[in-house]
Symmetry: C2
Subunit: 160 residues, 2 copies
DNA sequence: TATTGTTATACTCTATAACTATA
DNA sequence: TATAGTTATAGAGTATAACAATA
């Protein structure tokens, strides 16, 4: 069963990433790559990317949201939110209403078209999720989610 | 204990991401952002980024590696590996030796300086890892790693 | 024909500084 | 003074096509 030993020059056909496997960052990057690539294909029919999809969902779930709040919720810098909101607005999926009591800000609201696209995309993403998580039992999923949440919350445990 | 109810206009100060929280992609992106930002600061003193650090570790652990194998191990396209290897070579951390039996390819090998920097950076990354995972018990860590590995392996369960 | 490494290129994501108009 | 949104810009990460040398 075991392959013949090749003593002189070690085979580089079987690459070891044992060192990197010890770190959450490496494992998460690899897993996230799979999710990102699949989500990319899933959202393509709706002409949405992960960022525009995330923004749309947040605006649908939180009508009246301001851009600064959206940036904070998405963990993205404010200038980068502008182009995302621009894109959604130009496609008629959301509107920039004037914010009450603050003439500097906008109240982001979904249009009926935006709500419809959001709902349709959401069901596609749910199928994508179930497909990728198919082999993982409920307890492992819960533990994984808890671990990810603990890392996210522990951002005050960062360096500096 | 409960704050006074504000019926007319719902407070948008408390943003709900409940919909997105149901998806592994969102939770992983948020957690990965924390890890990426911290790792960025941790590697900065060594003048390494996540990609160059990962490549260096893989080359140290797999001397004689070819670039195509490195690209595969890093889940990065071959053209993007060229600049990473360029950077490590120009800094004297690795060398591009001729590959035996194939004059097209290179055998990537670490220099003593590369091995030393790799070891030093590794201990810093170990501290970073333990800091970010501090609040997570062993069983949760194991389950999280198992879940991430299952997603990575299940890349054949992708769309198309 | 297929593969290795390469060049060129483009698109996305991310990050910072500086501006305007309001607060 | 500080904040909301904006502009401009630059750096990273990622992806594809096409090429020369070699298998």
């Amino acid at each position: 069963m075991t392959p013949p030993a090749r003593m002189p020059s070690r085979a580089v056909t079987d690459i070891s990433d044992a060192t990197l496997q010890r770190f959450a960052g490496y494992r998460m990057k690899r897993a996230f790559n799979v999710i990102r690539d699949d989500l990319h294909l899933v959202l393509k029919p709706f002409d949405l990317r992960m960022l525009t999809y995330t923004a749309l969902v947040l605006i649908v779930d939180n009508p009246g949201l301001r851009q600064a709040q959206l940036a904070d919720a998405m963990d993205v810098e404010r200038p980068n939110v502008v182009v995302i909101v621009d894109e959604l607005e130009q496609r008629g999926l959301i509107v920039r209403d004037p914010a009450p009591n603050d003439r500097r800000a906008y109240a982001l609201n979904p249009t009926p078209a935006g709500e419809h696209l959001c709902a349709t995309a959401l069901t596609a993403v749910e199928r994508h999720e179930e497909r990728l998580m198919a082999g993982i039992d409920a307890e492992t999923r819960a533990a994984m989610f808890a671990g990810l949440e603990a890392i996210r919350r522990g951002s005050d445990r960062r360096v500096k």
